[in-house]
Amino acid sequence: MSIKVRYFASLKESLGRAEDDFVHTGLLSIRELWQRVNAATPLPDNILVAVNMDYVDLNYLVKDGDEVAFFPPVTGG
């Protein structure tokens, strides 16, 4: 399956990139996905995650074609 992974705000800056294209076979949770694409960087404690623009938790199992976004706490308004 093919997954688009996106990063925003301070996370995008600290990782040095805005997105990854990830290809995988088999079940994969959000937590596992992070470990595959960012092996050298621990998952930040306060991170928020969205799949296809809806919030999910770290145990969500990704599906082919999903857009997964990781970002820090939001600060709009």
């Binding site: 996106r6 705000a9 301070s10 969205a50 820090p72 706490p73 939001v74 600060t75 709009g76 308004g77």
Partner: protein, 147 residues
């Protein structure tokens, strides 16, 4: 219901007036919240700010928030305008305007929408301090004066 994400400065009062003229909602109460950029934060002078957002998700989350408000209160109409890009002190960042028949629904729904926007709508602020240092705003305040 209208959501506007804008890259240019806007006049919230003009937005409200234009919207009311266009929609002609038969309302009895209007509750308005306007958030304005401060020139200070965390004890530092701030000379500009850049607001990033997640195009598509931001609009989707705001639509969900409005739908949640409509389930709880008798809301007739909602206008949300939110700035992105570079913002200067005293410019409006956000406008939430809620039209209802009665004041209780207007006050409560406006408060609900604004608080939900603060915690769920994917926007991020980066401040440019008077020292030219840049820093991300890490979290929102609880909405009351900390002193």
């Amino acid at each position: 219901m209208t959501i506007i994400i804008c890259t240019e400065s806007f006049d919230p009062w003009q937005e409200i007036q234009q919207y009311q003229q266009l929609t002609k909602t038969k309302y009895g109460a209007t509750s308005i919240f306007i958030g304005t950029m401060r020139d200070f934060n965390d004890g530092d002078e701030v000379k500009a700010m850049t607001l990033e957002y997640y195009q598509g998700m931001t609009e989707k989350q705001l639509e969900k928030i409005i739908a949640e408000a409509k389930q709880q209160w008798a809301v007739l109409d909602v206008l949300i305008v939110h700035r992105v890009g570079e913002i200067l002190p005293n410019q409006a960042i956000v406008l939430v305007s809620v039209w209802t028949m009665h004041r209780g629904d207007a006050f409560d729904a406006c408060r609900y929408i604004m608080e939900a926007l603060k915690s769920h709508a994917p926007f991020w602020k980066k401040e440019l301090l008077s020292t030219d240092k840049e820093r991300w705003v890490l979290h929102n305040t609880d909405g009351y004066n900390p002193n």
